[in-house]
């Protein structure tokens, strides 16, 4: 498979307001040197807990926010080098489905108009053909043509998510970024939307980046996955292998924290979780970011940061238990 998207050392620093006149402005590094490759036709999973930088990564890839540094290659283009016009063209080929299906839609605009507007924005077709195409798209995602004039509040969460998918797919993109597309949906509806996404992927030859905090879904839906922790990838590999045999202590904690739908599996009081919480992005620990919560921490973990090392077999891990390599120190903060 050829590479469709290459992300190298992507970094995004947000400056946030000062607390007092004398205090310096503070910086949040939302994404801190992330690199990965997405191949044509695959589904690449991005997993991690709230605030680890999943959405920011997606927005950076689309250049909806400008990276502080890094390089993005998409389908033969140096994305950060594209001018406005070129970027507009690229955006037709890379679309996003947003995290919250309800708020992603304009409450006063009919869902059909929302879908057709994507075409208008890109100057495709005339108003007649756009309406027709939007209606067809509604059918493709399992709604009906007559839903065109409905308003968002008349639709369920699952239906709104289908509208979001229709809106992303009407441009026939190559890459679709799915930001928690099923997290707000009930289990039975979630399965319907996942099946739809898979069918459409096969039909249109789509490449997906699938963002989720649900490891169980990622394991089944994605071919490859990367685990993010505080803006950094800590582990990467084939999703089945990573879930079956996680190497990074954080990935292990994620896997072990999920209660199993089996009354004979460990009960809540025996779940082998981890202590503590995600450190604030404002005060990233000096050594390994996971050190404070890690059950296997060693002395050097507090001082040095492990590099993401290729272990072969498509697996990469950033942990001193698996390699002594240290991460290069970041230049900006």
């Amino acid at each position: 498979m050829s590479d469709l998207l290459t992300v190298q050392d992507l970094r995004k620093v947000y400056q946030i307001g000062r607390k007092g006149l004398l205090q310096a402005r503070r910086a949040v590094t939302a994404v801190d040197g992330v690199s990965f490759v997405v191949r044509n036709g695959e589904t690449f999973g991005l997993v991690g807990e709230s605030g680890c930088g999943k959405t920011t990564t997606a927005r950076l890839v689309l250049r909806l926010v400008e990276p502080t540094s890094g390089w993005i290659g998409f389908d033969g283009w140096d994305l950060l080098d594209c001018n406005k016009k070129e970027m507009r063209q690229r955006r037709r080929e890379m679309q996003i489905v947003f995290q919250d299906p309800m708020t992603a839609l304009n409450p006063r605009m009919s869902i059909g108009t929302s879908i057709a507007d994507t075409l208008r924005f890109h100057g495709i077709g005339d108003s007649r053909s756009r309406v027709e195409e939007a209606r067809t798209m509604l059918e493709v995602v399992g709604l009906s043509r007559s839903h065109y004039s409905g308003l968002p509040h008349e639709f369920s969460g699952g239906q709104c998510q289908r509208v979001g998918i229709a809106r992303a797919l009407i441009l026939k993109p190559k890459l679709v970024l799915l930001d928690e597309p099923v997290s707000s949906l009930d289990v039975s509806i979630r399965a319907q939307v996942l099946n739809l996404l898979r069918t459409l992927q096969n039909e249109y030859g789509l490449t997906y980046i699938f963002i989720s905090h649900d490891l169980t879904v990622v394991r089944k839906f994605c071919s490859t996955m990367a685990v993010l922790y505080l803006g950094k990838i800590v582990e990467e590999g084939l999703s089945d292998a990573v879930s079956r045999e996680p190497l990074h202590p954080y990935t292990q904690a994620l896997v072990n924290s999920v209660p199993q739908p089996d009354p004979r599996a460990p009960k809540a009081r025996d779940l082998v979780g981890i202590e503590g919480e995600l450190p604030s992005a404002l005060a990233v620990p000096k050594g390994c970011r996971f050190e404070g919560r890690c059950p296997h921490r060693m002395k050097k973990c507090a001082e040095k940061e492990p590099a993401l090392v290729d272990l072969g077999g498509n697996r990469k891990v950033a942990c001193f238990l698996h390699s002594d390599a240290e991460a290069p120190t970041a230049t900006i903060s």
């Binding site: 807990e49 009930d186 979630r190 399965a191 898979r198 089944k220 599996a265 809540a268 919480e277």
Partner: protein
């Protein structure tokens, strides 16, 4: 901590024929319709079901927190044999709510007041029910904050909700709910908004507290993993009705209602082939406004037959302690 001796070991809570309806413009929404169940002393009962099935309304009805256009139309809610529906609001407020029955609400952010310190809000129960001043309540409150795993509790007493992380806020909510050592704790999706590693911590905390306080737990969730890891007994709700009830083993080993079977099938089985499709329940949940005749699950059921359109099934025993409301399970058919 002391607890009142339980003379009989019957159910701590018995709900009988509860009907809570909302009188809306479009008609009457039968949010909870003829629901009966028991929470055994020292047991954990989980109510599971999809969005809108009536889980929260059931909990709010028990707490006496249904406001117009909602109304409890019929039924009895017996706490230690005393019918809470017969009590006046000031009695409920003064004696039961927050004292004998503690509740953790679905949305931790909206149930904490942003303009009061965490400590003062957690101490509320002691002030209200034991007539302590805030100063007198302080030490006990700090102890409870420590009990729920808030580090540095003494200092954090004076912080405001926005200065707490999501996980810490949820711990504070739990502290507020248990401060009067209730014998029944109602937790409405206490972990839905949390990351999985934090969820594991909170579930463990709830299980431990239940034992420590010698109380019973009524827990609402839509996550079957949470059910399997917490519940002794399970209720499955659909469109305002209980469709199945039994022990956690009965529910997972021999689900009898097609809806329960469907839910269990939807739970992603990690061991199955990655490219296999996801099991679904077709259609969307029924909203029980003027629901009409017959079974409320019939439109989504692949096994419906003539009787399902005519006649509403009632909960009938299939084995000891295991009930289902489905004509397929009715041996008289």
């Amino acid at each position: 901590m002391a607890c009142e001796p339980n003379v009989d070991y019957g159910p701590i809570l018995r709900v009988v024929g509860l009907k809570t309806y909302f009188h809306l413009r479009d008609g009457t929404l039968q949010a909870v319709d003829d629901v009966s169940f028991e929470v055994g002393t020292g047991k954990t009962l989980c109510i599971v079901g999809e969005s809108g099935s009536g889980k929260s309304v059931t909990a709010l009805s028990i707490m006496g927190l249904i406001d117009p256009p909602g109304r409890i139309e019929a039924g009895g809610i017996y706490h230690h044999g005393e019918d809470l529906l017969e009590l006046q609001e000031d009695e409920l407020e003064g004696r039961i709510r927050g004292n004998r029955i503690g509740m953790i609400f679905q949305d931790p952010m909206s149930s904490l007041n942003p303009s009061f310190t965490i400590g003062d809000q957690v101490a509320e129960g002691l002030v209200l029910h034991r007539g302590l001043t805030r100063n007198q309540a302080r030490q006990e409150t700090v102890d409870v904050l420590r009990l729920v795993g808030i580090p540095d509790a003494e200092a954090r007493y004076d912080l405001y909700p926005h200065q707490f992380s999501g996980g810490m806020r949820q711990r504070a909510m739990i502290a507020a709910a248990i401060i009067c050592e209730p014998d029944l704790l109602i937790a409405d999706e206490p972990t839905t908004a949390l990351d999985v590693t934090i969820q594991a911590q909170i579930l463990r905390l709830l299980a431990e507290l239940k034992d420590k306080l010698n109380s019973s737990l009524l827990m609402i969730t839509h996550d079957l993993g949470v059910v399997a890891s917490m519940a002794d007994d399970v209720l499955v709700m659909n469109a305002g009705k209980i469709v199945e009830s039994g022990t956690v083993e009965q529910m997972f080993d021999s689900p009898s209602h097609p809806y329960t079977q469907g839910l269990l099938n939807c739970v992603i089985d990690a061991e199955t082939q990655r490219d296999g499709s996801f099991e679904v329940i077709p259609g969307v949940p029924l909203v029980p406004i003027n629901p009409g005749r017959g079974c409320r699950f019939k439109d989504r059921c692949t096994r419906r037959f003539a009787r399902c359109n005519r006649e509403e099934p009632v909960l009938l025993p299939i084995e000891r302690g295991h009930y289902a409301a489905c004509h397929l399970c009715d041996s008289a058919t």
